[in-house]
Symmetry: C2
């Protein structure tokens, strides 16, 4: 029988239960100084000796007795008859109490002369002036910074006892292949433990990744026993959802006690926490974005509770660019791109979904919607946790709209000018509304190259706005089919379609109207797929007979192609914003010969690659 997480525990309760169940650990390790940066001191560090150890000279010059120099005056120079040459850092010889800088002397007959008396202790660093023997250098619980280790070394400290946690990470799943092996369709590269290791190591944990364990309860059990014996915390990667192959909770339940299974958090719901041999075992979901949420919010919280230092960016108050729904009772984490438009910081959400890892790569922060909220209105102020340094926000340009591949190349060109292009997926309609609301620097729209589409889709909603239209790319679209298209028997064919508002759909509808076909009688007209690749896949494997996609894609897949027209991908920019330095760089980049050249070479690369793999 399938099981569900019937008792989803709220996130704050889960954290409280976890902290109660696993009090701070006393694990430490001693590392040489150069490896101590970023780690947290497990005990206070004291200076081994005073620095300086004795009174020393602060400059190169002469050690003198200050009382001998009292008579020196600008008009009455004095020879330093009783003095000793001294270099910076050298110990002041007994009976001298001041240093005269070499620059304040000149030599006559082998004796240095001065024009100014020296005050007692002038240019002398006293013993212990920097630190005294036994004085505290760093308190317990201090995260060591790069320049701290210079000081520690100066004070005779060559190694540091730092807080540590040994984390064992076991990947489970028969569909997994290790990094470096090309996955077959239906297989996944095992990457969550790599990511966990990178994240937790930066917190100061010592991670050990175990080999991939197939979906077999006995194998999972023995891997878990080994890892629990060798570590302070064990993470079972994947195997924490409640499907037919997920044995983790059974195995963990048999070896120990399950503390909770299922948290009211999205993504990341299927997380499991258990106690085995008095150690925490955490079942981490397999979807990468869900795994990230669990690493950050659950594992990260436990390690912080155990005294390690959280790895996280700054929190920023921003406005949300569009309404977001959220289920009451669920803490939700949503990747966003933050950028400053016309003096206001806006966060634009990326699509949700634990499997779409690119949303996190494309984002520069994330938004936490607490369980008590049913959603957030457009324009509402929210707190966003950044995943990049704060100062990068000022150099971030938000482009809302259709995410055409050419925009990626544009982003590459823009990076040369020091700006970061963040493309936030949205329909042409939403993109136009974002320009109206001034929540983005530019909108990317893909519309058929017809004046009608421009008027209907853009001008209608922005009648008052002075707009720049910057062309980015044009793409030929048409119908891909397994065999030649017989326009007389279209109703016998099974189609796949693209969503309303897409250029492919508009061109298809126009063509059907020309052919005088009633769409209600067209098989599959209502079967929308979200990507042009899905069109090619459906036609390629015989599940459908025809559908609209780019010419190049049809050609690469060896399908017949009936051209319908061109789609143009343009940037819409408010004229008033074009003077902003970043926006001006964006426009310059889009119009540059380098960008055009890149697009062409990308096209050649694609064609070449298709030619090789398609043969």
């Amino acid at each position: 029988m399938p099981r569900r997480y019937l008792n989803l525990i709220p996130l704050p309760d889960a954290l409280a239960v976890m902290r109660r169940a696993f009090p701070p650990l006393d694990r430490t390790e001693t590392v040489p100084l150069r490896l101590a940066v970023g780690r947290v001191t497990a005990e206070p560090l004291y200076a081994e000796y005073s620095v300086p150890q004795a009174d020393i000279a602060m400059f190169d010059g002469y050690a003198v007795r200050s009382e001998d120099t009292l008579q020196a005056q600008d008009q009455r120079p004095l020879p330093l008859e009783n003095c000793a040459p001294i270099n910076t850092g050298e110990v002041l010889p007994p009976s001298f109490d001041a240093v005269v800088m070499i620059e304040d002397t000149w030599n006559e007959d082998g004796i240095p002369w001065i024009r100014k008396s020296a005050a007692p202790w002038q240019h002398v660093r006293h013993a212990g002036e920097d630190i005294r023997a036994g004085e505290l250098v760093l308190p317990k619980g201090h995260q060591v910074r790069p320049f701290d280790i210079g000081a520690l070394a100066t004070y005779g400290i060559t190694q540091v006892k730092v807080r540590s946690v040994r984390v064992g990470i076991i990947p489970t799943g028969s569909d997994l292949v290790p990094l470096g092996v090309a996955p077959a369709p239906g297989q996944t590269v095992e990457t969550n433990t790599l990511m966990a290791e990178a994240y937790l190591t930066r917190m100061g944990a010592t991670c050990r990744r175990y080999r991939i364990v197939p979906d077999d309860p006995d194998l999972i059990r023995s891997a878990l026993e080994e890892a629990v014996a060798e570590n302070d915390l064990v993470i079972l990667s994947a195997g924490s959802s409640a499907g037919s192959r997920d044995y983790s909770s059974d195995v963990v339940g048999a070896l120990g006690e399950i503390i909770f299974h299922g948290i009211a958090v999205r993504p990341g719901k299927p997380v499991l926490l258990a106690r085995v041999d008095d150690k925490p075992v955490l079942g981490m979901p397999g979807y990468p974005v869900a795994a990230q949420t669990v690493l950050r919010e659950i594992v990260g919280d436990l390690l912080a509770w155990w005294g390690l230092s959280p790895v996280r960016g700054e929190e920023l108050r921003v406005r949300l660019s569009r309404k977001l729904a959220s289920d009451l009772g669920f803490d939700e984490f949503i990747p966003v791109s933050v950028g400053q438009v016309d003096g206001t910081c806006w966060a634009t959400p990326h699509p949700r979904g634990g499997g779409i890892q690119m949303t996190v790569v494309r984002a520069n922060g994330y938004l936490h919607i607490p369980a008590g909220r049913e959603g957030i209105e457009a324009g509402e102020e929210v707190r966003v946790r950044l995943t990049v340094p704060l100062e990068r926000i000022a150099r971030t340009l938000i482009c809302t709209g259709v995410r055409h591949p050419a925009l990626n190349e544009l982003g590459n060109c823009l990076s040369e000018a020091g700006y970061l292009l963040h493309c936030c997926n949205a329909s042409t309609m939403r993109a136009v509304l974002a320009i109206r609301a001034k929540t983005c620097h530019a909108a990317s729209i893909c519309i058929p190259e017809t004046g009608a589409a421009w008027n209907d889709l853009v001008l209608r909603y922005l009648p008052e706005v002075d707009l720049l239209r910057v062309p980015v790319a044009r793409t030929e679209l048409g119908i891909a089919a397994a065999s030649d298209l017989d326009t007389d028997s279209l109703e016998s064919l099974r189609f796949v379609n693209r969503p309303k508002g897409s250029a492919a759909r508009i061109l298809f509808d126009m063509w059907l109207e020309e052919q005088e076909i009633d769409t209600a009688r067209l098989t599959g007209y209502e079967h929308e797929v979200r990507t042009p690749e899905a069109v090619v896949t459906a036609v390629g494997n015989g599940f459908a007979d025809a559908g609209v996609c780019p010419a190049a894609m049809a050609r690469d897949a060896g399908l017949r192609f009936t051209p319908l027209g061109y789609e143009s991908c343009d940037l819409l920019i408010r004229e008033e914003c074009a003077e902003d330095e970043g926006v001006a760089s964006l426009i310059r980049a889009a119009r540059s010969p380098e960008f055009k050249e890149r697009l062409q070479s990308l096209e050649r690369f694609r064609a070449d690659r298709a030619g090789r793999t398609g043969a």
Copy 2:
């Protein structure tokens, strides 16, 4: 003849000259994925294949044809006669176009039944929905984050070409000893190259530290030639000031062309930039805080110009707690501790001086006073660059005043409660004024245990303020002398004294008054030393006959001791602030038995150590 940096170049000009002289470098290296975190991509990264590679199931359940399920209704369940069991992530078999979740079915006679029709493509992830083959994952110039490497691995990328710079670092100086060797007085542990390596490695540079080279032009020359051949940038540590032993500039000048020597920056003035074999050679000053400034502001700027990612904290607008003077024409960098008192963020400066490394360790940020300013007024708004994460500021408590060793232990106790104690050195008078101006959470004052001192030094300036006085430690003070003190012949002795306002000075003055001694006739009365260690040193090596210091210190040094009285180190806190959670923790810590116990064990440790080393 001694040379000076006659032509000090302004900092902004120095950076501009440097950037013009050394255009961005095209050095890259290819690192395995797990070592790519924090590095900057040298080229855009594209997905090796689409993810998913085919249409796959989003949940465990059954693959179905959506049109077969049209008739299913809540009141009219339907058997799934044509279906295939499918697990999450598995490829949808051809001829199926939807997935029914296992939870939405039940089994009867070996056949799954449903009550709800499936929409086309329900619970199906289309091929390429996460990313399409050849689509951009990361643009050029992107600093790789821990979760990025999960995505890269998922898309088949196993190694990353990142920007790199090879930096050779040569320590020079006959007074240097390597880390791990106890320095004799006048020697220094070679730590600046260790610090440089730690800092520059975090920027993504590949550092090579060379062996210590003594002050010998030929040896420096051959070390430099070797390092220039092997690296893109060479740093000569120390040897860049203009003293008698500093041969770097001669050697560098002979091998190449000096671009500048001396920048109008404090600390860090003696920095030297040269071109040798078309590569930059940087002479870095030996004083650690000066070296840090050069690493951050000069070397860091060059590496950022060459495409690496600067390591720096956030910038924060705060108010300066006290007036700071600064020389017109010099860019000055001053370590500060930032804390929030009564809703306002205040920065309190630590003492300046390139040799006092502890000021940087104790600080959580630094203030940049540009060359055009002659100083900053108390209360003025300034920008501070933090050296700790921003969110730590809210947990920082600023204690201004006398830095008694007991306060360090108090800081250790407080860290258990999650707060960070920053002690900013100031006289008792300044500390009392800081309480009046509300620029600190607590003031630490060390005054003689007499009612008169309390009235004169505290109450007089804070008549209207309700104060808490929290005792921290008491110390016996007295006169340490090489032989027994003959009070009848005090005027024949040479004294060292402590600064005005110090408890030692007040007690000494009171005692001299009792003895009816005219201070004008006391030799050395005006010779003030800044630390009690300096008193002990002066008496110990016969340079003076007597001076005031703590009883324990005199005892440890084997000196005779004439008690004068007790000094009490107390915290002053505004009663109104005592409810602040952090301040309440501070008071609790100061009153806790753990803190008293720590002070006692520290005292035992000190006495024990003195007993061993003094014998």
